[in-house]
Symmetry: C2
Subunit: 121 residues, 2 copies
């Protein structure tokens, strides 16, 4: 009976840094990562993979070159691979990201918001 | 800006059948599926893939040959590939399953609870 039950709310109490995803579980070669976000992230894309956003609490926006989507608590959205996007949250928002292990948060945009991978909480 | 925002609670109002997963989104070759469960499922395993359970509301149990885990709202658990397990819920529980497209809910156990794949809601 390997692996542990992970409670999202409990894990969210264990870090406060924004734009700094924390791994909470792995499924095959995919990772589940919690993140706290506020303000504007960098425009970027992930050329090789889709990326799933699930809002645990709060609300956020994902801007695209041709529009935007607004996500509230309990909303799930999959950003297709190769689509440039910019996450944005007016107030702090807590999200669950699901994507393959090794995906860099800023894609190939880099910059000061690029976070290290494989940081567990 | 392809694909739509999916709200889990809203999608859960659209079906009532138990043990009958409904696809709500796809990420690469993975699917997100909502299910309503109550009672005992069949013992089975998935020899080729991990399987993620996330409890949206209610509580459930996953029995293993050497123990069990109990999951409540906001809990996430990954059943490792090849591990025999039996989901169980005393009262109706609403869950989000995440696993590769094409995984059969009963593994190779079959039986009357085997559900068709790729039924979207």
């Amino acid at each position: 009976m390997p692996r542990q039950v992970v409670n999202l709310s409990e894990k969210l109490t264990k870090f406060s840094e924004r734009w700094s995803p924390r791994v909470i579980a792995e499924m095959n070669d995919y990772q589940f990562k919690l993140a706290k976000i506020q303000g504007e992230f960098v425009w970027h894309d992930h050329p090789d993979t889709d990326e799933t956003f699930f809002v645990v609490s709060g609300s956020m926006c994902i801007r695209f070159e041709d529009g935007e989507v607004r996500l509230g608590q309990g909303d799930l959205y999959v950003v297709p691979k190769g689509v440039r996007h910019q996450p944005y949250a007016e107030e702090e928002c807590h999200i669950l990201l699901i994507e393959p292990r090794g995906v860099v948060n800023t894609g190939d945009a880099g910059g000061e918001l690029q976070a290290p991978n494989d940081v567990w909480v």
